[in-house]
Amino acid sequence: MTNVTRIITSQAPVVWKNLNGLICVHKPSERSVKSVRKIIAERICNELNELEVRPPTTHVSIVGDTTKELDVQVKPSFADHPAVVGPRYIPEELYISTGNFLGYHTSGVLVLGLQNLGAKKAKFLRNSSLLRTYQLKGKLGVATANFFMDGKVLFRGRYDYITRDAVDKVAATMEALHRKVIFDLCSVDPRSQTAYDWASQGLLRPFKTKSPVIYGIKCVDYSPPEFTVEVQCTNETEEFLIELISKLAAKLRTAAACVQIKCIRFSHFDIDDALLKKHWSLQHFLDSVLDGDTKYQKIRDTISPTLVNFQSEETST
């Protein structure tokens, strides 16, 4: 993808045609993916309507007295005027699908597929159980009803005896436990030759299941009462991540509530490439589509062979 030709155009149909692929945006917290999609569709359509859109079609009418010679008039058709049929591009017609799903409280990398080609690529990303990296911030000493900070506080506890080492230790234990589970989810004995072959091919990802799997937990910041852990996982949900913080705290003999969930990486899509809400405009999206294409190709090339084999087996059977 080195030889990308860049053209300068003010034609809306040309731009529309090129808006066909994956884009990477930054989803703010306390906002649903649905509303993010809605805002993006509206912004794209508003900007496209300001460009040079298709002119109205011509209306051919035969007028005059039928007893004499008739006159043929060709005029721009009022029936195709934007004031009558509405703007040329409307948000309902722009199909946006999601490559990964983030919950209401989660912020961070959100990969969206624009139009048909984007939907195809996004579907591949969705079904590939790709690795995501989250940063979870927890607050020690508070237990809430829904494990998140906005819930009702059930009780408060001490946390002064907890050290950074203790958090590291518990995180390492949890990681080891989850690594064992991966082989179970792949329904193979971890001591067998098959398990060795698969594991030697690359990252072993679960197939035929949608249960969450954690590949690594690491404490990256500890400033009590708040602490941050970085989690590499797949097939996760927001509830699973929020509960993870309270599970971790339970092993530390205290309580904790989740304060913030942030998706910092989704496979090759990094948070540095994600577009902030103020950058959700046509030019940025066009650049992001080009960038998304190269990253998608990279994912296709480097995807673990284990999963690819099983995916093809699944589709054949």
């Binding site: 703010p28 029936a79 049929v85």
Partner: protein, 397 residues
């Protein structure tokens, strides 16, 4: 799916022209069958023969009807009662006797039939009619967004029943007379298409009322441009609403005028909403009565906000940033900003230790400076950092 009837004048005419032969045809057949039915009640004829005679009668009318004198007994169907007293009713339905000649398919047409066209069908969009209707074309030229009416069938039916010269011209002249610029007509009609239903005298009375309340001409035009529905409220209604505002917020006459011109929607809004908003500002946020009046006069748009929109922003400004009430009263437009933007900028200033909101100390950041402009201006003027570092910070939230 919305289907509205087409009420164009031309269509009705066309329908009449096309239906003439059909009506005649039906009348004849009904005439015959009724008489047959009368006879049936008297005579003992079998039902099967009677049915066939009726169908034959209908056929006779379709074909050129022979003259009475030339008719022979053989042309009458066998089941037809030849000695019936209604026998000479057949010549009475002769088309030629009525002076109507059914044209042959291959006749040359000598009259002007340019007005003839198929009738317009029911449609879900104005696009089906706009090429045939000069009225709709005038509306398009005024830049009325007709597609916005499509979800509302009552507006569609009303717009189609209008005629430009008869129903619209005088109203547009009236708007021009009170000083509304022509480029705003489209916006006004799009927002309030039922303005053409109002009587011109009533409109003049409503404008006269505003003049009597010392609104100047440009002010009245601005009110109507901002809120086209204003003219559809009666004088009594507007009077009571202005009185309500004055009473609730303890305003002087000049202040009422300022609010009405600044945000006319505050006057035509549901009075219960304003009561709830004032209660929210007073009891939940803790503003004094004079504060509310001052804020409403300075920023009339505040009155159109719902209480649940203002509360999160107020919480951010007062409880998180610690700005007292008397400073918020001086910059009420901050209350209408999104709480998200205020929180982001406040947290960033906190991070770089510039969150100094006390006007008596140095490096004071006013509420107005915090909310003004885009992120580039904010970083340049207030935070004194690069935009890139601010963007990196935003991604950590």
């Amino acid at each position: 799916m919305v289907i509205f009837r087409c009420l164009l004048k031309r269509t009705c005419e066309l329908n009449n022209i096309r239906t003439v032969p059909n009506v005649f045809y039906h009348r004849c057949s009904v005439f015959r069958t009724n008489k047959q039915a009368c006879e049936l009640n008297d005579g003992p004829n079998s039902s099967s023969s009677e049915k066939s005679s009726v169908s034959k009668d209908v056929l006779i009318i379709n074909t050129p009807v022979p003259q009475d004198s030339q008719r022979s007994e053989s042309s009458i169907p066998p089941s037809f009662p030849s000695n019936s007293k209604y026998d000479d009713s057949i010549p009475s339905v002769s088309l030629e006797a009525l002076g109507i000649r059914i044209p042959h398919a291959l006749d040359t047409c000598s009259e002007n039939v340019s007005h003839a066209a198929p009738p317009l069908q029911p449609s879900v969009s104005f696009a089906a009619y706009v090429n045939d209707s000069p009225t709709l074309q005038e509306l398009v030229k005024l830049d009325v967004q007709l597609w916005k009416f499509e979800k509302k069938p009552d507006i569609c039916n009303y717009i189609l029943s209008l005629d430009y010269d008869r129903d619209m011209k005088n109203h547009l002249l009236f708007l021009h007379k009170i000083g509304v610029p022509g480029e705003n007509f489209g916006n006004i009609i799009t927002k309030h298409p039922f303005i053409f239903k109002e009587d011109l005298d009533n409109l003049q009375i409503r404008v006269n009322y505003l003049e009597s309340k010392k609104f100047t001409g440009p002010e009245i035009a601005e009110i109507i441009m901002k809120n086209p529905r204003w003219l559809s409220y009666t004088t009594q209604d507007i009077d009571s609403r202005l009185g309500f505002l004055q009473h609730t917020l303890n305003l002087t006459g000049q202040e009422v005028r300022l609010i009405a011109v600044g945000e006319p929607y505050a006057v035509t809004k549901d009075t219960a909403d304003i009561s709830i908003l004032v209660f929210c500002l007073k009891e939940e946020m803790g503003f004094e009565d004079e504060d509310i009046t001052a804020m409403a006069v300075m920023e009339p748009r505040l009155l159109t906000y719902k209480n649940f929109r203002l509360l999160p922003t107020f919480n951010e400004i007062h409880n998180e940033m610690g700005i007292p009430h008397d400073l918020i009263v001086k910059q009420p437009q901050a209350l209408m900003r999104s709480p998200r933007i205020i929180r982001q900028r406040h947290l960033y200033l906190k991070l770089i230790k510039r969150d100094q909101y006390d006007p008596k100390k140095e490096n004071y950041v006013s509420l107005q400076a915090l909310i003004d402009g885009d992120d580039t201006e904010f970083c340049k003027n207030v935070a004194k950092t690069s935009v890139e570092s601010y963007n990196t910070f935003l991604k950590t939230l």
